[in-house]
């Protein structure tokens, strides 16, 4: 046996260890589905791909990518059906679609629809598309749902204070060197690392 085949033996051995570790870290309940999931892309490769999508967006449309803006338009659209006058009388909601304008008449709404399709397609191909609650090992399923709702409330409120989220501010603004976007990005990491330890029982 030459050194070449020894190398390949070694690699497959490591791969087996890695897969077995991955299996054992899952809950018993969903072991089969998890072990069928294919590995993610390398993070640097993912980053280059994401950067290309962002660049193409700027070239084709003059703006970057976004997420929270589309959700704000969805909220305004529902509010407009339930209580149209509260949209017209509130400067925040009116800016998305007061008067005769539809809150959903924006590029970002189309983009969010694409995100749903693209995310589902990738998950399907990677065998990761199945019902599941993502949670830390110490947290019950119901507790995780309540906590997720609470986290969403905080993030939703703050995206509007900062006029964008990790997509529209940190990523898109970051790439065109917008000063405020960089301040936002470092604040996000700062806020998260500040509370990661006290909240460690949610995830560790």
């Amino acid at each position: 046996m030459g050194p070449k085949s020894e190398d390949s033996l070694d690699t497959s051995g490591l791969e087996r260890v890695r897969q077995s570790r991955a299996r054992h870290s899952r809950t018993r309940h969903s072991r089969t589905r998890h072990s069928r999931a294919r590995p993610y892309w390398n993070p640097y490769l993912s980053g280059v791909a994401l950067g290309f999508v962002l660049f193409i967006s700027y070239v084709l449309t003059g703006h970057g990518l976004g997420a929270s803006g589309g959700l704000a338009r969805a909220v305004t659209a529902v509010l407009k059906v339930i209580a149209p006058s509260s949209v017209d009388h509130n400067g925040f909601f009116a800016s998305f679609g007061g008067g005769a304008r539809s809150p959903l008449d924006s590029w970002i709404v189309w983009e969010i629809l694409g995100v749903i399709l693209g995310g589902a397609l990738s998950g399907f191909l990677g065998r990761r598309l199945f019902p599941e609650t993502q949670r830390g090992p110490r947290l019950s399923r119901n507790a995780r749902w309540v906590i997720a709702l609470a986290g969403g409330l905080i993030v939703g409120w703050s995206t509007q204070l900062s006029r964008g989220c990790t997509s529209g501010q940190a990523l898109s603004g970051g790439a065109v060197l917008a000063a405020g976007s960089w301040a936002f990005m470092f604040s996000v990491f700062g806020g998260a690392y500040l509370v990661a330890y006290p909240f460690r029982k949610l995830w560790r």
Partner: protein, 201 residues
């Protein structure tokens, strides 16, 4: 010369282009593992720094392409949307966002991707996002002065802030990112393997 204006290409162009861009965006986020709250929050417990790596590689890639095309005169930077600076709302909003990220496990874009893969907790998170945004609409009157005026500096880029030419700022960001990648790899080796999150090395 870019950027193009798809609204002039027909009524189909703008929706179609944005759906396709969204598909690319969602696809790559999911490929990177960002449809998983456990993978995302690993960033804050230092055993898997994929969030930082993906984000800064994406910023580097797009930034180099954008400023490269501006330098050769193919892309008009003045026609590109640059998010204006509202310094204090962005800092306070960012800090709160980070707290909510650790608690909830997602950010808005990744929550949509996770929900598209039927992660039940992501549906609760998105529900929280919607009510949080609704709540902000009714909070605005109380914080309007702060929201509109605190550190409002208009469109302002890092080269302007530091008084350097754009290529110098681009180089600075590249060096910063490379330093963070090197530090990140070192931290990951020290803290633990990222094997449990299923990342392909």
């Amino acid at each position: 010369m870019a950027p193009f204006d798809p609204t002039g290409w027909g009524s189909w162009a703008e929706p179609l282009i944005h759906v396709l861009l969204g598909i690319g965006f969602g696809f790559v986020l999911e490929r990177a593992g960002f449809g998983s709250a456990r993978k995302l929050t690993s960033q804050f417990y230092l055993n898997d720094l994929a969030v930082m790596k993906v984000m800064f590689t994406a910023i580097l890639t797009a930034m180099i392409l954008i400023f490269g095309c501006v330098t050769i005169g193919w892309l008009d930077f003045d026609q590109i949307f640059v998010s204006p600076t509202f310094l204090w709302p962005q800092i306070v909003g960012g800090l709160l966002f980070g707290v909510g990220f650790v608690i909830g496990g997602y950010c808005p874009g990744t929550a949509v991707v996770a929900a598209s893969n039927l992660k039940i907790d992501a549906f609760f998170f998105v529900g929280g996002l919607l009510f949080g945004i609704l709540g902000f609409g009714y909070t605005v009157p109380a914080i309007e002065l702060f929201w509109h005026n605190a550190g409002a500096r208009g469109v302002e880029t890092l080269p302007q802030v530091f008084g350097v030419d754009p290529p110098v700022a681009v180089l600075g960001v590249v060096l910063l990112a490379l330093g963070m990648f090197a530090g990140g790899e070192w931290i990951e080796r020290r803290v633990a393997g990222s094997a449990e999150t299923g990342e392909k090395k």
